[in-house]
């Protein structure tokens, strides 16, 4: 814990120095980059050590403390955070003349520290304080580019939603601590164990509060705008790390509360299924690279919730094996998504710098401009689609197993196995979406002239390569990570887990590893055979076959919109597109059905009501005094009634 504190201190210092040394930009960047990386690495090491050595969590009375669940998330926050901070100095470097880059660097440090605070808090006050610092720091970073109206609007939507989440959490903790009589998490557990708390209310409010933060449909509406508006490394942090705090909250709530009722598990499972399918479907319709990646976060949060839902159902039905699979899958996918999604956002940032636009349909053949980013993005794409031999497959495999294993239990729980088909649909749609993104962006030939030439320097590429390395390592050697995830999962579960269950899971993970190795060896062999065959033959360069039409241009290539059209068409009104047929034109706009049908009307109603309330603000002192006196009299009457 003290090591973690030292790391966080170093990060805060680096952030302050970046702000103070603003005028000496080279020095400030260097101090900030290495101070942040050192701080993150030191902090992450302390978390990793705790996970490796399996120290039992003691009952601590301090406001902040570290146990296995906290350590897992600290590892994610600081591991990804180091890469993002390192990338940030290079990414914001160009903005120096026009903006206060030092403030953004300081805010990033504060946000990371607040995130660590949230996952290590041990009392309600500590938790909510860190939560609010996190929410505000993230808001200030989202509106970094606040000259543009769309950024301000995205910031507003985020601010409203994040406070909705905070209010729900206030309600949850109020309901809980009313029964507990104290604010420390240890006392909350005790109160829950003695059935002194309204469990249904707590679980419902917790799901709302943490669900909005995690971006679960329909609470996801802040997510696409905020991710598109923020600078790319901040989008990576929001998507890769901050959403996961919502998952942490759900897991922490479960671990404190004990056995949840079955309806809660089913609710989480269904929310997960809906988020996964709709998230990827809406992603498919996007033209803006960063909005597209943001919707994929909704999808992946859905996959995590599928695991979490099965875990909760396993706990309620007393199937420890099922619960272990579900929670382990959720935790693993949380880690994996944080790796590949931040990788993809960092790649998107480098690409946007290189190309000067986020519009997928204006780009093409960018792999020739930023080859290393293209390969890193390629790795990230395979990982996010959940294909072997990378890390995304490993966690989806565990979640699939959890879903299908419900089929072996008997009773109503078996129905949950049907959701495996939903996860399969999600995977296939993700494949469609990322073949579109990677194919249209990086491959083929340019669709319009490329404007920028920046984005290929080492400061931007190195973090991507590090993250890609982690994706490959976890994909090839899953048995190194699964024991730790399983240990964290066991810590969340109230029932004791039979010995050997986690070891069995690790054992089968070696088979996944074997399959990945066989695949790589076979790729090598086929490559060698083909190379041997081609070596003695003629290899010619030609033009792409265009049905004998000679004047092919880059604009004639299949665009991202036409690529997705047939799939989107098949899903009809669910797909989140708005078709405008003109006499000579066809426009397809990506819209968010939830935002348009719920978010906007509710907001309009709120504003109208608020304007109506202005009548009471007459600016006459007489009326204000009357309000005060009325309130006083009302309170007196109330006290007179309730007084014994």
């Amino acid at each position: 814990m003290s090591l973690l504190g030292a790391g966080l201190g170093s990060m805060l210092l680096a952030g302050i120095l970046a702000r103070v040394l603003e005028r000496r930009s080279d020095l400030a960047d260097r101090v900030y980059r290495w101070g942040m990386i050192a701080g993150c690495v030191v902090g992450a090491t302390s978390a990793a050590r705790l996970l490796a050595t399996d120290v039992p969590a003691g009952r601590s009375t301090a406001a902040y403390g570290l146990d296995a669940l906290s350590a897992w998330f600290v590892l994610i926050i600081l591991g990804v955070g180091a890469n993002i901070a390192g990338y940030g100095t290079g990414y914001l470097g160009r903005e120096r003349p026009s903006r206060r880059v030092g403030s953004a660097h300081l805010l990033l440090a504060v946000l990371l520290i607040a995130l660590v605070g949230v996952v290590t808090a041990r009392t309600i006050v500590a938790f909510l304080a860190a939560w609010e610092v996190m929410a505000i720091a993230a808001w200030l970073l989202v509106i970094f580019d606040r000259d543009r109206a769309e950024v301000r609007q995205a910031g507003l939507v985020y601010l409203v939603l994040t406070h909705l989440s905070t209010i729900a959490l206030f309600g949850m903790f109020a309901a809980w601590s009313g029964g507990a009589g104290s604010s420390s998490f240890a006392d909350l557990t005790a109160a829950a164990a003695e059935h002194r708390v309204p469990v249904a209310l707590i679980l419902g409010l917790g799901l709302v509060g943490f669900g909005i933060k995690a971006g679960v449909v329909p609470g996801h509406i802040w997510l696409p705008g905020a991710h598109a508006a923020a600078p790319s490394h901040i989008s990576a942090l929001l998507s890769g790390v901050m959403l996961k705090v919502g998952i942490y909250g759900l897991l922490r709530m479960l671990s404190l509360l004990g056995t949840p009722p079955a309806w809660w598990g089913w609710t989480v499972l269904i929310l997960g299924l809906v988020s996964a399918v709709l998230g990827v479907l809406w992603a498919l319709a996007q033209h803006d690279l960063k909005r597209l990646l943001a919707y994929h976060s909704v999808e992946n949060i859905g996959i995590i919730l599928l695991g979490l839902g099965v875990g909760a159902l396993g706990v309620s039905h007393h199937h420890p094996a099922l619960a272990l699979l579900g929670f382990t899958g959720a935790l693993l996918h949380t880690l994996n998504h944080s790796l590949f999604k931040s990788l993809l956002f960092l790649g998107a940032g480098a690409l946007i710098h290189a190309a000067g636009t986020r519009e997928i349909d204006r780009l093409g053949g960018v792999a020739r401009v930023v080859p290393r980013t293209a390969w890193a993005f390629f790795i990230g794409s395979i990982a996010i689609v959940g294909l072997p031999p990378l890390n995304g497959f490993v966690s989806e495999w565990v979640v699939f197993r959890a879903l299908l294993d419900t089929g072996g239990t008997g009773g109503t729980l078996r129905v949950a196995s049907v959701t495996a088909a939903g996860l399969a649909l999600t995977g296939a749609l993700a494949l469609a979406c990322f073949s579109k993104v990677h194919g249209v962006l990086f491959l083929g030939s340019p669709r319009s002239p490329v404007s920028g030439v920046y984005g290929g320097d080492n400061g931007l590429v190195a973090p991507q390569l590090v993250l890609a390395g982690f994706c490959i390592a976890i994909g090839l050697l899953p048995f190194l990570v699964i024991p730790a995830a399983a240990r964290v999962a066991i810590g969340v579960m109230p029932d004791s887990v039979p010995l050997g269950l986690a070891d069995a899971l690790t054992g089968t993970a070696t088979m996944v590893s074997l399959v990945a190795l066989v695949l790589l060896v076979l790729v090598g062999i086929v490559w060698g055979l083909r190379a041997a065959s081609v070596a003695s033959r003629q290899v010619r360069a030609g033009t792409t076959w265009g049905c004998a039409y000679p004047a092919v241009t880059g604009r004639m290539q299949h665009t991202a919109s036409s690529y997705a059209a047939s799939l989107i068409g098949a899903f009809g009104p669910l797909s989140g597109t708005n078709r405008v047929d003109g006499p000579l034109t066809l426009e397809v706009h990506a819209v968010d059905p939830v935002f348009d049908s719920i978010g906007r009307p509710v907001w309009t109603w709120l504003r109208r009501t608020a304007v109506g309330l202005r009548r009471f603000q007459s600016s006459r002192i007489f009326w204000y005094l009357l309000y005060v006196i009325t309130a006083l009299v009302g309170l007196l009457l109330y006290l007179w009634r309730v007084a014994p």
Binding site: G364, G365, I382, G386, L387, P388, E396, W397, V398, F400, L404, D405, G407, G408, S417, V418, A420, A421, L423, A424, L425, G427, A428, L431, A432, S435, K436, G439, L443, G444, S445, V515, V518, L519, V523, I525, V526, W527, S533, V534, R537, Q538, V539, R540, A541, G542, T543, T544, W545, G546, V552, M556, Q557, H558, S562, Y563, A564, S566, G569, A570
Partner: protein, 307 residues
């Protein structure tokens, strides 16, 4: 897994990989006979592969390394997928709980790389083919997993070798209607995944109407050979799934089981040819409906099991 060398799984794998190129030949021959032609020899694909393997290659100047990687990864992934199936009826070379996810994932990896290779050419035809391929796959995947879920529920097994093994033999008398529905669903998925009528027509000659063929327009020489061979192996693998449900062979002597598999694959190829002779290809926007129908069949099968 036992420590001794798994003779029959290996033997079955070698036979399946060796005979796979014959399946498209049988299907095409059936079609030509039924439509009153003589048609190409059954062994035509072997000759094509041998010839392509000895040819030179032309690469478009637009392409990158991804284009060269596509066919290689496609074949390698398909081969690894074939080691997960219990081809001799009882044992898989690389079986483990949840290996059905790896089976679908490996085929997905091959598809992903092939689609990217098509996009790499910058041709709008190939982009169109890629788009159609992923659209069809998006509907075939849930149907495949629903069929797998039927098997999981009927047998209580999480491993392909178990799902198609002895537990399936004992499950048949209890869950026959479900298993029949799942087999039909799997056959429809087979038609879609192997690009046959009514989903795709391998013999079409117009770029605009092709799906799979148009994706590989720019591949030549050994690269095309790899793709064609991988396609044949994929057809064999899906054939093995259908046979595995219809005729589980775990209780039989291994040699007989392998012989039955070969016979079954030939019958599947004949069935594919018959389907191609009696019906036309569906309009592109009807294909998802066909696959949703396959999912619905599997869904009914699940309801029967869950009742």
């Amino acid at each position: 897994m036992t420590n001794s060398i798994p003779v029959f799984p290996l033997l079955a794998l070698v036979i399946v990989l060796g005979l796979a190129p014959m399946l498209p030949g049988i299907a095409n021959r059936t079609k030509s006979l039924l439509t009153g032609r003589r048609g190409a020899p059954v062994l035509q694909l072997y000759w094509d592969l041998a010839k392509l393997w000895r040819k030179g290659v032309v690469y478009s100047r637009t392409t990158t390394l991804v284009f060269r990687l596509g066919p290689i990864v496609l074949l390698a992934a398909t081969l690894v997928a074939s080691t997960l199936l219990p081809l001799d009826g009882a044992t898989a070379l690389l079986g483990f709980p949840g290996d059905l996810v790896a089976f679908a994932g490996l085929l997905g990896l091959g598809r992903f790389l092939l689609v990217l290779a098509a996009m790499d050419t910058g041709s709008s035809f190939e982009g169109m083919g890629a788009s159609r391929e992923v659209t069809i796959a998006a509907f075939a995947e849930p149907a495949l997993f629903l069929c797998f879920t039927v098997l999981v529920l009927a047998t209580g097994q999480m491993e392909l070798a178990g799902m198609f093994g002895v537990p399936l033999v004992t499950a048949w008398p209890l869950a026959a209607p479900s298993l029949v529905l799942a087999a039909i669903g799997l056959f429809i998925v087979t038609l879609a995944e192997t690009c046959r009528v009514p989903v795709d027509d391998p013999l079409t000659h117009l770029e605009l109407t092709m799906i799979h063929e148009v994706m590989v327009l720019d591949h030549s020489g050994p690269d095309l050979a790899l793709i064609l061979y991988a396609g044949a192996v994929k057809m064999a693998l899906f054939g093995c799934l259908v046979i595995g449900v219809v005729a589980p062979r775990a209780h039989q002597p291994r040699a007989l089981a392998v012989a039955e598999l070969v016979l079954g694959l030939a019958l599947i190829a004949v069935a594919v040819g018959v389907v191609e002779s009696v019906m036309a290809r569906l309009r592109m926007n009807r294909v998802p409906q066909l696959l949703v129908a396959a999912s619905a069949l599997a869904g009914f099968a699940l309801i029967l099991l869950l009742r």
